[in-house]
């Protein structure tokens, strides 16, 4: 980032002096004001749909204390994890598609048509294939994860510097060694990017995934709270999803820095 001379504009100078989370805190205060002062004035019942942060906080504390939030969170995380293990199949598939042109030519049209179909739309067919229960929920999450990992792996392979492949061949490496020792390794940073995107999308597919057959999970909690008009629980669920999604992403970024110390995108 090439920041400009900070001294130039008084507004910027003022912004510079703000503590880091000022905007976030401001937003929360505004929300509190709207939900507990302004909304009730225009219609005393609107706050049902937009509970003030204080009430959300109380509800959150309650849900945490009763263990409910933890229970749902754990259930969702477990589903994510299982789905992720299956979604990792996108890595070898992506390697094959990225490396062997004819395989790419055959499979790419299929991938391209399947990719934009929303996970939600797969629910009926997935019930047919997996029945109801965890496998079906996991499948929906899996769909969200699979394509980003696949696309990034293919892309990562396509972007492997040809000179590295030539170097390996020139040092006597055969086809298989080239794929395993060079292509896979060189594509790894982008595969990891794919994993990050995939985990994000998979996490966002939670609500859709837990629409059917689940009786636990954050998505279920939200869907269920809707049916009893508990917007406070919905907001707690949303914030939990948002926050945990953020934490997962940060952990992954951290892990990448540790595990792929040589990666360019980490160097900067």
């Amino acid at each position: 980032m090439t920041a400009p001379d900070p001294a130039r504009h008084w507004l910027l100078r003022a912004l510079f002096r703000l503590p880091n989370l000022a905007a976030l805190v401001g937003l929360i205060l505004l929300w509190e004001f709207v939900a507990s002062v302004w909304l009730p004035r225009s219609d005393p019942y609107l706050a049902t749909l937009m509970p003030p942060p204080t009430q959300v906080f109380t509800t959150a504390v309650e849900l945490i204390r009763s263990g409910e939030l933890g229970f749902h969170l754990l259930a969702s995380l477990k589903r994510e994890a299982v789905a992720f293990l299956f979604a990792l199949a996108a890595v070898p598939l992506g390697l094959l598609m990225g490396w062997f042109r004819p395989i790419h030519a055959q499979l790419d049209p299929i991938v391209e048509v399947l990719r934009p179909i929303p996970p939600l739309a797969w629910i009926p067919l997935s019930i047919l294939w997996f029945g109801i229960g965890d496998a079906q929920n996991q499948f929906i999450i899996f769909l969200g994860m699979f394509f980003p990992i696949l696309i990034n792996t293919i892309d990562g392979v396509a972007k492997v510097e040809p000179v590295l492949v030539r170097a390996a061949r020139s040092l006597g490496a055969g086809e298989w060694k080239v794929i395993k020792r060079v292509v896979l390794k060189a594509a790894l940073p982008q595969i990891v990017t794919g994993v990050r995107v995939g985990l994000g999308v998979g996490w966002m597919a939670l609500v859709a995934a837990e629409l059917v057959g689940a009786s636990s999970g954050l998505g279920f909690m939200i869907n269920d709270a809707r049916s009893v008009l508990r917007t406070d629980i919905i907001v707690v669920g949303m914030i939990t999803i948002g926050f945990v999604g953020l934490v997962i992403d940060m952990l992954l970024r951290f892990a990448t820095r540790k595990l792929l110390p040589w990666s360019v995108s980490n160097a900067k």
């Binding site: 510097e161 000179v163 590295l164 030539r166 170097a167 390996a168 061949r169 020139s170 040092l171 006597g172 490496a173 055969g174 060694k177 020792r181 060079v182 390794k185 060189a186 790894l188 792929l260 110390p261 040589w262 990666s263 360019v264 160097a267």
Partner: protein, 255 residues
């Protein structure tokens, strides 16, 4: 064993019959004895890299044949290994692992591999840097790793495509001296592509000058000077003038 012979080689890109075909090289013949150091000089686009690629086995001649020690070259491998301008080190391997890569491919046992690695780390003077990753090294040090990695597989022919072009002037000078030192301790048949007349004179036994596209052998100049070579020596200056004339002879275009 490492005698390199290039016989009536032509390379045409694209369908030879079509309009868009590019004749990169025409009827090139060269004979480089075992352990000789040969430099290739020529304008941009005259086919130097193409020639090297065919010797390295990355491409096949459209006509003619390349052979090393009497055996035709059919694919890339350690016998005719290449050092690239961009170093082409594997960024995910440290120095030791990079150097050992080729040895692993040759399926050498662990112990031999480590011994060889030590030898070549010493040879290029990188003791103490074994566990560093390429991006932690300077340009010159990376180039040394690339050289060590290539030498470690004991190639019969060592190919280099403008290996020093990415280095700054001082480092380049130092690396040239280094290369000569290493080559003298461990003689190989070397084929080095360069744009720099000085580099060619400083390093090679034999300088091959290619003409503009389509590349043909314009002349082969033998450098009879003692090593290390003195830039200010009269013979050196004469050779430089001769090569400059050969090169600029048909250099009319401006860029």
């Amino acid at each position: 064993m490492g005698r390199l012979s290039i016989e009536n080689v032509s390379k045409i890109y694209g369908d030879p019959a079509s309009e868009g075909a590019v004749v990169a090289l025409r009827d090139v013949s060269l004979d480089i004895p075992d352990h000789a150091f040969c430099a290739i000089l020529g304008h941009s686009g005259c086919g130097k890299t193409t020639l090297l690629n065919m010797v390295a086995g990355f491409e096949r001649p459209t006509f003619g044949e390349v052979s090393i020690g009497g055996e035709p070259v059919s694919r890339p491998g350690w016998r005719n290994t290449m050092i690239f301008q961009e170093y082409a080190l594997f960024p995910w391997m440290n120095v030791a692992e990079n150097i050992e890569f080729g040895l692993e491919m040759k399926k050498l046992p662990q112990q031999e591999r480590e011994e060889a690695r030590r030898t070549y780390v010493d040879l290029v003077g990188l003791q103490g840097f074994e566990t560093k990753y390429p991006r932690q090294l300077s340009g010159g040090m990376r180039q040394r790793v690339a050289i060590a990695r290539a030498l470690a597989v004991c190639p019969e022919v060592l190919l280099m495509d403008e290996p020093f072009a990415a280095l700054d002037a001082q480092t380049r000078g130092a690396m040239q001296d280094e290369l000569v030192r290493i080559w003298r301790r461990e003689p190989k048949t070397v084929m080095l592509v360069t744009h720099s007349i000085d580099e060619a004179i400083k390093l090679a036994d034999k300088v091959v000058v290619l003409s503009r596209r389509p590349g043909r052998v314009k002349d082969v100049v033998e450098i009879g000077l003692e090593r290390p070579r003195d830039e200010d020596h009269a013979d050196y200056i004469a050779l430089r003038r001769r090569l400059r004339e050969l090169i600029y002879d048909d250099f009319d275009e401006r860029s």
